[in-house]
Amino acid sequence: MNLHDTIAASDDVVSREVNGEAVLLDLASGQYFGLNAVGSAIWQILGDAPVTMAALCDEVEAEFDAPRDVIEADVSELIEELAMAGLITRKAA
């Protein structure tokens, strides 16, 4: 994953925070997904506006106490999962 790639939440997804965790509904497929607290924080950032991977990692780093390399690996893994599920779009740098 390139840190300069731009990530955006899909227009086909509606989400709602339920007791601190996000529940996503993909309107295109009718499937729903649950995110844990970290995933929910990332989704909230994505929901505001498209963001680069680097900026996304910056925001996560500011919020969670973890080494940068761990954050980049974890964010990258989640973004891959969200992309596979069709919940985000990616624009290569």
């Binding site: 086909d12 509606v14 709602r16 339920v18 007791n19 529940v23 509904l25 309107l27 729903y32 649950g34």
Partner: protein
């Protein structure tokens, strides 16, 4: 209030365009298709009736040729009206409800999951019958803590023959076993005539449990399960769907929701009712 204009029965000609949404039965068969027309939306219940819903909300119904004429009225009351109500900001779910002094209990589930039979059995066990098949909720608006009020509906059960015989002693020997029929409640069953606050929601499983199983769901799980039991007219109207999703999320956070499964055996119903009432009483008021 939504009214329906009834047209003459007609042949269900092919629509010419693909459905943008379908309702499927638990067996995987298409029950209804949703089509866009020049004037709005046509909901076709295959072999039963077409409902044309205009952009201004007017509803015209054309029963299918050869279909039982009472089906159209039932489909209007139990599918079209709740869909239109949700489209306009309401909260209607596919389920039945009963009440006692502690509040109302709603049973949500797929078709043929036993919602009505359980509600009828609760009625026979001293609880008051509130509604069947469609559970309409209205939210408190003037309180700091949101509350949901179950809206009572006409005291009638729509049951398959075996359930009617078990619950009501109804003479159902000549009923078509594959179809639901309307049956009046026994006169000794209590009926809730006024709105009652919702105490808990139970989401019915598929009956594979060997014994009564009740599990308190997280709000996230409750929301994802309730989505399957709501009435949505236009799955492509993102703004309305988002608002509906938000209303369901509030409900999932505000009201305790349980997964409920039990063997579909009439003799198990007293035990199910006792377990359901106990779970509702012990559940945290959220």
């Amino acid at each position: 209030m939504t009214a329906m204009r009834r047209e003459k029965p007609r042949l269900q000609e092919p629509m010419g365009t693909p459905a943008y949404d379908q309702w499927m039965t638990p067996d995987g068969e298409a029950k209804a298709g949703f089509y866009r027309t020049s004037g709005g939306i046509l909901v076709r219940f295959y072999g039963e009736a077409d409902f044309e819903i205009s952009d201004n909300g007017a509803v015209r119904c054309s029963p299918a040729l050869g279909a039982d004429q009472s089906i159209a009225e039932n489909l209007f009351a139990n599918a079209i009206k709740p869909m239109l109500a949700n489209y306009n900001g309401g909260l209607n779910l596919h389920g039945s409800a009963v009440a006692d002094a502690q509040g109302g209990l709603a049973f949500l589930g797929q078709s043929r999951s036993g919602k009505t039979t359980l509600a009828g059995a609760c009625g026979g066990a001293g609880m008051a019958f509130v509604t069947e098949d469609v559970t309409e909720l209205k939210q408190d608006s003037g309180q700091s803590q949101r509350r949901y009020w179950l809206q009572p509906k006409a005291p009638e059960l729509r049951l398959f023959a075996d359930s009617a015989q078990h619950l009501l002693g109804a003479a159902a020997d000549d009923w078509d076993e594959g179809a639901k029929h309307s049956a009046s409640l026994n006169p000794d069953m209590a009926v809730q005539n006024t709105p009652v606050p919702l105490r808990a929601i139970f989401l019915l499983g598929d009956g594979s449990a060997q014994a009564v199983q009740i599990t308190l769901l997280t709000s996230q799980n409750a929301l994802s399960q309730m989505l399957q039991h709501s009435f949505v007219l236009d799955v492509e109207d993102k703004a309305r769907l988002k608002a509906h999703f938000a209303r369901l999320a509030d409900l999932a956070m505000d009201v305790p929701c349980f997964a409920l499964d039990y063997p579909r055996d009439y003799s198990a119903l007293p035990q199910v009712i006792a377990a359901v009432r106990a779970a509702a009483l012990e559940s945290p008021v959220q």
